[in-house]
Symmetry: C2
Subunit: 627 residues, 2 copies
């Protein structure tokens, strides 16, 4: 039964808590509802409390067994609603994992599954004809525990922000420009319900993913980021993928998409979903294509539908579905610089042209809605015609599809299915705002979920930066979730470090957007870090950053000694030159002398200046006289 598992040794999950941090909870209205946060203990006795995406992995008190999966956060909430039933579920085929039954791969597959047999959950679905989406509850006025969870999570602990709010001049000066968002000072569960009801936010939470710690995607909440993981035909393994998930959420991925395309994708997904505290998204057409041996023309609605059910039963929280890529739009890409660059989009385009038929994703859209609402899978309506270069940005192909996504959104909403809209891609800075404008106009404020966008095309190896610029701007403009881009974009599969680099770049973009929008509390973390910086509390400066390890390591490179971590200078300027040190001296001096004198002098000089100007003097101020 408990035979040695040959994969255990490979699964060295990253579990170390962040420095000076421990997991705390914000209690909700019921004993089984509490929202984890990360509290950072500062050296001056203060505590800063941060939004935490890392799940139980950073809590040393929690025992983790990836072969059993995470504890069940939402099970009781789902059960007590009484509108779902468990059922036997779809029969698994070897083909789900890309293997034919007679394959030698089938043996390997059986081993993989046996190694995690406890992960197999009995699936649930809505009772016949029912609708179990958060949107459906919201529209009936029901505040679910998931909504309350989101409200508590978005607020965090506000106590430590008092100092920032107390400085009225500053708070007013840096207040933010919400660009049309309406973010309340305190997020209430009722506010969350209302946002979900009107479709302006989604809470991706499949009833078969009870392990998820609920979160919201919407322009009136914190800007979120998504990280992509996945194996591929060329490289990587299942073991790597689970650790990639843990690694991604450690650094702040709010959502993770599993974009696996090779062998064992069903089993990989089991491992990921069962071990994920964040919503998991997929692009089901990838697996469907595997099932037909990679021949796009052989895809059928039946195979696709079967794949949706397979993945819905596993607990995938949102599906990217390229239903807006219609046959009549395909010719619009003929003169493009880079044609169709979405994988899903190009598969569907090929299918449409091969059969000369409208896309089955479009024609079966309401059938898809029926599946989505039975499990509460959210739509992420894919932009199969997104531009693959700045040259193709905002062209008719892209916008024709976007308008169609708006039409589909209204169909999805008719079914109370939660929906977000995917966006580009590659867009020069001056064309970013119009993407947001078009999306808002046509998609009725359904959350926008953009890939980048990359602002230029000449930075292969650095596209996380080229795109973080666009991501920050579109996040400020109203995009609710930013899909990360790693340094390997366009070049190869990201490894562990690339995933981290991509996530940090996108945490920067998302936070820059929150600060610019004036999300309450967003800039309190900046203030706490700036204060630590000014007071030479080096450890606090590191620990409040997005990546304490790297900050500490960089500081160690030139000043490795512990004593430097309290030194009132750094290697950039050396001991004599530290401007912050000098400033503190200046401040003490100014306090002693008083400022009244300086002000008087200022006024006196301005007076003099006016006299000289009035007199037509070339020198507006008596500069020689003063020296």
């Amino acid at each position: 039964m408990n035979a040695p598992d040959k994969f255990t040794s490979l699964l060295t999950l990253t579990r170390e808590p962040f420095p000076a941090s421990h997991k705390c909870v914000i209690p909700g209205s019921r004993p089984d509802l509490f929202v984890p946060v990360r509290d950072v203990q500062l050296t001056n006795g203060e505590t800063v409390s941060l939004y935490d995406t890392s799940g139980p992995y950073t809590d040393p008190k929690v025992e983790i067994d990836v072969r059993r999966g995470l504890p069940d956060v939402r099970g009781a909430w789902i059960a007590e609603r009484g509108d779902t039933e468990s059922y036997e579920g779809r029969v698994h085929h070897a083909l789900d994992d890309g293997a034919k039954n007679e394959d030698r791969d089938a043996q390997r597959l059986a081993e993989l599954r046996a190694g995690a047999s406890a992960l197999q959950r009995t699936p649930r679905r809505a009772k016949s004809g029912g609708n179990v989406t958060q949107m459906h509850y919201a529209r009936r006025g029901i505040v679910t525990p998931e909504m309350e969870y989101v409200a508590l999570r978005e607020n965090g602990k506000r106590e430590w922000m008092a100092e920032y709010l107390a400085n009225e001049e500053r708070a007013k000066r840096v207040a933010g420009n919400p660009m049309g968002a309406s973010i309340p000072r305190i997020i209430t569960p009722e506010f969350v319900r209302d946002e979900v009801a009107r479709g302006r936010a989604i809470i991706p939470a499949n009833i078969n993913h009870p392990e998820v710690e609920p979160m919201a995607i919407g322009r009136n909440f914190k800007v979120k980021i998504n990280a992509n993981i996945g194996n591929s035909a060329v490289t990587s393994s299942i073991e790597e993928e689970v650790e990639k998930l843990v690694w991604a959420i450690r650094w702040g991925a709010d959502n993770v998409m599993d974009l696996s395309t090779g062998k064992n994708i069903h089993t990989t997904r089991d491992w990921i979903v069962r071990n994920s505290p964040v919503p998991i998204g997929t692009v089901p057409i990838y697996q469907a294509l595997e099932k037909v041996g990679g021949v796009a023309e052989d895809l059928t609605w039946e195979i696709y539908r079967d794949t949706l059910i397979e993945q819905a039963e596993q607990g995938v929280d949102y599906f990217t579905i390229h239903a807006g890529l219609r046959l009549p739009f395909i010719h619009l890409t003929a003169n493009r610089m880079t044609g169709i660059v979405s994988r899903g989009g190009s598969i569907m385009a090929k299918w449409c042209i091969a059969h000369h038929k409208e896309s089955f994703l479009y024609t079966h859209f309401e059938d898809i809605c029926d599946i989505m609402k039975a499990y509460d899978v959210s739509f992420s309506l894919g932009d199969g015609l997104r531009p693959g270069s700045g040259a193709d940005a905002n062209d008719e192909a892209q916008f024709a599809e976007l308008r169609t996504l708006g039409e589909l959104t209204q169909i999805a909403w008719k079914h109370d299915v939660q929906t977000m809209i995917e966006g580009p891609g590659h867009v020069p800075m001056h064309m970013i705002q119009s993407n947001m404008d078009e999306q808002l106009r046509h998609c009725h404020e359904a959350p926008f979920y953009t890939l980048g966008p990359l602002t230029i095309d000449i930075a292969p190896g650095y596209d996380h930066i080229a795109s973080a610029i666009g991501a920050a701007m579109i996040g400020w403009a109203g995009t609710a979730m930013l899909c990360y881009v790693t340094p390997k974009e366009h070049l190869g599969l990201p490894d562990r470090d690339d995933v981290k680099q991509g996530i940090i770049a996108y945490k920067i973009a998302a936070h820059a957007a929150d600060v610019a929008k004036g999300h309450p509390g967003a800039r309190s973390r900046d203030d706490a870090l700036s204060k630590a910086r000014f007071e030479f509390r080096w450890q606090d400066q590191f620990n409040l950053g997005l990546d304490p390890d790297t900050a500490r390591e960089f500081h160690d490179e030139t000043l490795p000694k512990d004593s430097s971590k309290v030194a009132h200078f750094c290697s950039m300027c050396g001991p004599k030159f530290c401007s912050m040190k000098i400033t503190q001296e200046v401040r003490e001096y100014a306090a002693k002398k008083g400022v009244a004198e300086d002000q008087a002098m200022s006024e006196g000089m301005e007076e003099k200046s006016k006299e000289f100007m009035a007199g037509g003097g070339e020198m507006y101020i008596p500069i020689k006289a003063v020296s």
Copy 2:
């Protein structure tokens, strides 16, 4: 005479040309005027010609001897103007290099100087009472060779952009939003003269830096970037600094500032200026402070003045001078989160308060102008009160100083001294535009030269990214030069790789700004790369990027074989899934079938859709009927 130089072995300059690239020149109107460009040979026979900051170092035909310095590009131009004279110059003191004469350091110093004795140039200055600034010539209607050089350089070779310009729909769609800039389609020498005359651009070109390849800083030219190098009391050596220069301009630094603060700074500067094809800037107060043993209160106008002359004779092209930090503004920083963070600013603040006197930089501003115009050193009016955190952005301290910089600009212009204005620092995205607006309003379109700005404060270790976002935005808004930030910002001295990371991040920001502004030709490079990407010309994709080495290396990680460099897929998607490959198939198919049919179908469906809508049908389109 040619005794083995003990530093030679350490000076392994990076001289390798970029892959598939060779140095070409654009000839001007006289035989000694030709502008270097880098031509990249593509595998499809095309050539792409790029702006090149790397000087002779990337030209294998040029013999480089750092002990002799670079060839003299401008010497004849300066001489034939007949308005300068050579003179003996200031006598060097050991103190210029931070050593007292009796020091054991003095011995070391003598060795250093002897090792590069050929670098000592006899200084030139304007003939008595003369003015030799580019602005002075420009205002008298004279087009200097420097101006013609700049015009040719900004245009580059336009032939290869024909394809981009030929596609009218595309050219119109992606045209750019200049945000108030007026960039002509072709830059003429006369246009450059006019821009310099009205102060909207500067050509930093000290008459004692004839090695410089002239370039312009102004909002109607390409956005430029500056990299900082320099030793410090804690780390680094002269040998490293010269290679840092070569390394910085290799990756695209248009200007370099030498911010050395430790020992040997005079000699370090000799080495850097004599070996630099790009303008060199300094902050003279740093050296002046060394001369008074690091005690700010002991600074005097005489010591400062002497330092200006010392550096002007060496050939420094622009001086950062914090003359706008006035005594009456200092108290405005008292309630700041992070006080004064500019080194120069805090030194002057300390001096002002210690003496309770107005800053000698301010009171002696016209005396400084007299020095500047005798050598054509440009002002970079420093922002000593720039914010050190988002919390302090755009406060009265910052803007009071900015207004003063505007006043000083007009005094400088009265003397025909070229002037640019330094800007922040730390500014959240929503406050960036008003920085630019205030600068334009008060500083009369004098070029803006900003440090970042950083959009958030929580990214130590990644501040090159946090600030590249702000840099791209403010560059688009009209900033002429972006001072880079490295990943080590706030943490330590940047090493070689940090310098490169900072530069690439800022090349991305500057290029994103050029593309957004619609600089003619900026996006042709993007188009060439995108086309290569779409056609699977991997080598061309790498070679057209900002960092071919890294792009190639990343690709090699998963697909190291040469055959992969022509493969029609990459490791991201594997052979079956490449969307670009599928798109090409789709395109061929579409060409065969013709698009007329698709269009007809499209129109037919729209008709149907309208019928259904008119009939009040819930489904706006007969989705079941089509499948």
